[in-house]
């Protein structure tokens, strides 16, 4: 792709906005259309675009496969971990958050347990916080899985079929 300056320049211009839009979709998903699934795909598509234009080694220095591999698991861990935290935290009543006697048992993924009175109005709490964290986990997993699938497909050597199209594209 060295011989396509327009594509390279336009890609460099466009990628920050794709990433910005991805983060907007992720963190604004509670208020407008969007959420972890969409944001993950959009963020991954920015990485994939970078990989298609600048080559697989370039994108692998930006997002090392070892890191992506761990992120795949981290997202699911955040999601399931939120559920465990809600179980352990229990449901708080309005009388005070440090009195363990005032807490009742909460279910797995019952975000009502995440109620707190720290920075009210600024930090989301309760159901809102739970949804936020869980969507974040979904976003991480989807981004990582899509990027990893791209690495796997682009890393194949197609010489078995005598077609070197993808290889020259990916390694250009």
């Amino acid at each position: 792709m060295d011989s396509f300056p327009i594509i390279r320049v336009v890609t460099k211009l466009i990628i920050p906005y794709i990433l910005l839009f991805g983060f907007y979709v992720q963190f604004h998903g509670d208020f407008g259309p969007g959420g972890g699934f969409q944001a993950g795909v959009i963020l991954a598509s920015a990485l994939i675009l970078y990989g298609l234009v600048f080559g697989l080694p370039a994108v692998k220095t930006v997002a090392p496969p070892k890191l992506i591999e761990k992120l795949i698991a981290l997202g699911v861990l955040i999601y399931a971990g939120t559920g465990v935290v809600t179980m352990l935290a229990g449901k708080a009543t309005h009388t005070g958050e440090h009195e363990l006697t005032s807490r009742t048992v909460a279910n797995f993924l019952d975000y009502g347990a995440l109620d707190h009175h720290f920075l009210p109005g600024f930090l989301p709490h309760g159901q809102h916080l739970g949804i936020f964290v869980v969507e974040f986990g979904v976003g991480i997993t989807v981004t990582a899985v899509m990027t990893m699938i791209f690495y796997c497909f682009a890393g194949r050597n197609p010489h078995a079929n005598g077609q070197s199209n993808q290889q020259s594209e990916a390694k250009a």
């Binding site: 208020f31 407008g32 259309p33 959420g35 699934f37 795909v41 309005h94 009175h117 009210p120 109005g121 989807v142 899985v145 899509m146 699938i149 796997c152 497909f153 194949r156 078995a160 079929n161």
Partner: protein, 187 residues
Amino acid sequence: MTLDEIFGLYNYWVVICLMMTGFYIVIARKNLIKTVIGLNVFQTSVVLLYITMGKVTGGTAPIIPPEIAAQHGEHHEHSTAHSTAHSTAHMTADAPHLDHATEHGHEAVTPLTQHADHVHQTASAMADHSTELIYSNPLPSVLMLTAIVVGIATTALALALIVRISEDYGTIEEDEILLIDQRDSSH
């Protein structure tokens, strides 16, 4: 078959057309990638089927307008702030809150009277918003949202298998793969 019925059911018929096209691609074509494409077409039409069922005539997207939602959030913040600040105010602030949870009546407005006039107005607007704003059903959207993403994950898995098959067999045509398998097993 009246005209009314045709206009009431055309969405299902279009979706069935698309579905059957996908089905045809899957059963008639021997190429594995074409089969995956057919499955994708089928999947998209199933998604469309669910989404058309959630639509209400004159409805809007299931996103509550910001002013109503913000008023609601503010009301909640208000009552919890009261409950932590003075426990005496807790009782008075909490009772209407419970009322409010059970019925969206005008009782919800009572704890907000100390607010400015415009808040009062949005509160009453929210109380009878159910008669003003019709929302389409959010449940099919949720089901299909996750189905689409799981669909791409399984598609990626199928394509990965196709890549491996083409590397080992040198072809992705079903009948040729079957021939190679039969030849190998007869040896």
